[in-house]
């Protein structure tokens, strides 16, 4: 994308209404992200339903600004309360809270705000550069590649979101794939698994499933052990020194790259990006013993990584219609609702859309840094609202958000059902992200597998001999084998053989 196109689209966004929407949505996102119990996914999903009647461009501004704000907002509670507002900010607790305990809460918040801004900016640069490039590769995708991509997405998402037990991640993914088959299938319009219910003919709606899985399950989880928060630390100086930031430029660049790469992997989100960035920062640090005790590097790494992931997660959304994270999945759903068709044909059908999205990110980044650095004390007060008052209010909003899209109570029932399912999954260590990703990729897998088989009259050879399919299969099996215990078993056998030879 040429800088002139980007600048033209960015300047076109600078009208009063767009700037107003960007700022209030970013503020809303920061509050959602900041409050433990609310997630970025829930915030974006709620607003997707509520902005259904808005113009498409304003809806994108509101949703992207909320996403950016929410991922940053969680750093506030991570620093002040040692509790991440969203999972993306868990790594921020490690060094953010120790800084707050020694009286540098404001400085930590300032560092987090500017690191998040730099991370988002890095992400949007990569979005601008790599989306058109990946779009060109995506034009080579046929039905075979899209099917194998769906399989790869589930396998890698399950692996990375449940690192200790990927089997549960894969199970969640395949449950999501199966649930997406409910409703009229696209080739023969045959109603599958509807039990004669008219409400199920169109399948299960994505927004109620998302709001239930991420929102209602979180409400139940919070109320299982409701705790209120008291902020003891004083917040003073907020603006960090430029020299301090520049001295960590290597951490910033490294974390930005990690964030974008992790974001581009289907279904894996900002929390993984933050942890990997933090881990690498510690490994490459000259003073790793300072990590966990208030190291600026640690805080900068996690916040740059998780915010760079936002831009990275949008790249596969725009080019392949595959979400890179759960909030990106909601953005994808919102684009579909507003008649935008993300995928390989997007640059052809709507050539300036990618530039517009990049411009919106830029606007949201500016809003995030301004609000993050200026509204420190008022936002701290919001953190102390009792959970027993906040949670029913959030549930009411979840109900409205689920009802708003189709105007039917069935979606609200669905939201509650998936809330209970999501809670039970969480209690038994089944990750929710693969379920949601499977739900989104299911129609793509179904459509493309059958279409591919029809085209080749049942031959599966193209799934194996097309180059992009081969790359995707190799990556898929590499992930499965790496977690199967086969490699450690082979290594053990080689060691035993070597010692018996000696």
């Amino acid at each position: 994308m040429s800088p002139r196109v980007f600048l033209t689209e960015f300047i076109a966004l600078l009208d009063a209404r767009t700037i107003f929407n960007a700022f209030w949505a970013t503020g809303f996102g920061i509050i959602v992200g900041m409050l433990p119990g609310l997630t970025a996914t829930m915030g974006v999903a709620l607003l997707t339903g509520l902005t259904f009647r808005f113009a498409t461009d304003q809806t994108m501004v509101i949703l992207i600004a909320t996403y950016v704000g929410a991922i940053y907002g969680g750093s506030r509670s991570a620093i002040l309360l040692n509790i991440p507002g969203t999972p993306a900010n868990a790594a921020t607790c490690l060094d953010g809270n120790p800084l707050a305990r020694r009286g540098e809460a404001g400085y930590a918040i300032g560092l987090a705000s500017t690191s998040s801004g730099i991370g988002t900016f890095f992400g949007l640069i990569c979005l601008a550069i790599f989306s058109p490039l990946l779009g060109k590769i995506a034009l080579q995708f046929g039905s075979w590649e899209f099917f194998v991509l769906a399989v790869f997405g589930i396998v890698i998402c399950g692996n990375l979101t449940a690192p200790k037990d990927p089997l549960k991640g894969w199970i969640a993914g395949f449950i999501g794939l199966l649930l997406s088959q409910i409703g009229q299938e696209p080739i023969q319009a045959y109603p599958r698994f509807t039990f004669g219910e008219l409400q199920l003919m169109g399948g299960l709606s994505l927004i109620p499933v998302l709001v239930g899985t991420y929102g209602v399950s979180e409400i139940i989880g919070v109320m299982k052990s409701p705790i209120d928060y008291v902020v003891h630390t004083k917040v003073t100086r907020v603006i960090p020194s430029i020299r301090d930031l520049l001295s960590h430029w290597k951490t910033i660049v490294r974390s930005g790259i990690i964030g974008v790469i992790v974001g581009a992997i289907p279904g894996v989100g900002e929390d993984t990006a933050a942890w990997i960035s933090y881990d690498f920062a510690k490994r490459f640090s000259k003073h790793p013993e300072e990590f966990g005790k208030g190291a600026h590097d640690g805080l900068i790494a996690s916040e740059t990584g998780n915010n760079a992931c936002v831009g990275g997660a949008i790249i596969p959304v725009l080019t392949l219609a595959v979400p890179g994270s759960a909030p990106a999945a909601v953005l994808l759903a919102a684009m579909w609702l507003h008649g935008i068709r993300p995928g390989p044909l997007l640059p052809i059908e709507q050539p300036t859309f990618i530039a517009t999205v990049t411009g919106i990110f830029m606007l949201a980044t500016i809003a995030m840094v301004i609000i993050g650095l200026s509204l420190v004390r008022p936002l701290v007060k919001i953190l102390q609202v009792p959970r027993t008052i906040l949670m029913p209010i959030i549930f009411v909003l979840c109900g409205v958000g689920s009802f708003a899209i189709n105007g039917r109570l069935f979606d609200v029932y669905l939201m509650l059902l998936f809330g209970v399912i999501g809670f039970l999954m969480r209690e038994n260590s089944f990750p929710a992200a693969p379920l949601v990703l499977g739900f989104i990729l299911g129609p793509m897998a179904d459509d493309n597998l059958r279409r591919a088989l029809i085209l080749t009259d049942g031959s599966i050879l193209p799934f194996l001999n097309r180059p992009i399919c081969q790359v995707l299969w190799v990556m898929t099996f590499a992930v499965i084998i790496s977690r199967s215990g086969l490699i450690p078993a082979i290594r053990r056998k080689i060691r035993v053989q070597k010692s018996s030879n000696n």
Partner: protein
């Protein structure tokens, strides 16, 4: 967790078998493209894979105690605040209920709101009753405080969403 995994695997296997069974009951050769366009093809494939994964889960839970011992050992101390940290305090008298009772109460209150009140009673009244009832049951505020919270919430939600967002409420 071992026991929970075993039974989770059994339930998931049953669900997978259900999907497979229903898929085989669908027409398989009703179109000119034959079995490749059959509506049950992909659900059968997915059901079989899911059944296999769930079987591995149940078998692992039944026979591989070593995995769960290693899993429990790898659970390190939490990086973030726990219930004894000074920043957190147990919320009011809600802490007198056991966690299971709290979970069931939340689900029951939500079910009453969604299945009984919504769509049958005026939205403002339904939401006010739900929020007030929720706050009262979990003792988050006094009776007056709960009622005021409920009314303010429902009126604010109604006003913002019908007048600003132009959303139709149930």
């Amino acid at each position: 967790m071992q026991k929970a995994d075993f039974w989770a695997g059994v339930v998931i296997m049953a669900v997978a078998l259900g999907f497979i069974g229903m898929s085989f009951a669908m027409p398989w050769r009703s179109s000119e493209w034959g079995v490749y366009a059959a509506p049950g093809l992909v659900p059968v494939v997915l059901g079989v894979v899911l059944f296999g994964l769930a079987l591995i889960l149940s078998l692992r839970a039944a026979f591989n105690r070593g995995f769960y011992e290693k899993f429990a050992q790898s659970e390190g101390p939490a990086a973030c605040a726990g219930p004894n940290d000074p920043e957190v305090q147990k919320a009011g008298a809600a802490s007198s209920m056991s966690p299971t009772v709290r979970v069931l109460t939340v689900i029951a209150l939500a079910a009453v709101y969604v299945f009984v009140l919504m769509g049958r009673v005026n939205y403002i009244i339904a939401s006010a009753v739900f929020v007030s009832g929720f706050v009262l049951v979990f003792k988050g505020a006094s009776v007056l405080g709960a009622i005021v919270t409920g009314i303010l919430t429902s009126v604010a939600v109604w006003a913002v969403f019908t007048k600003v967002f132009l959303v139709t409420l149930p």
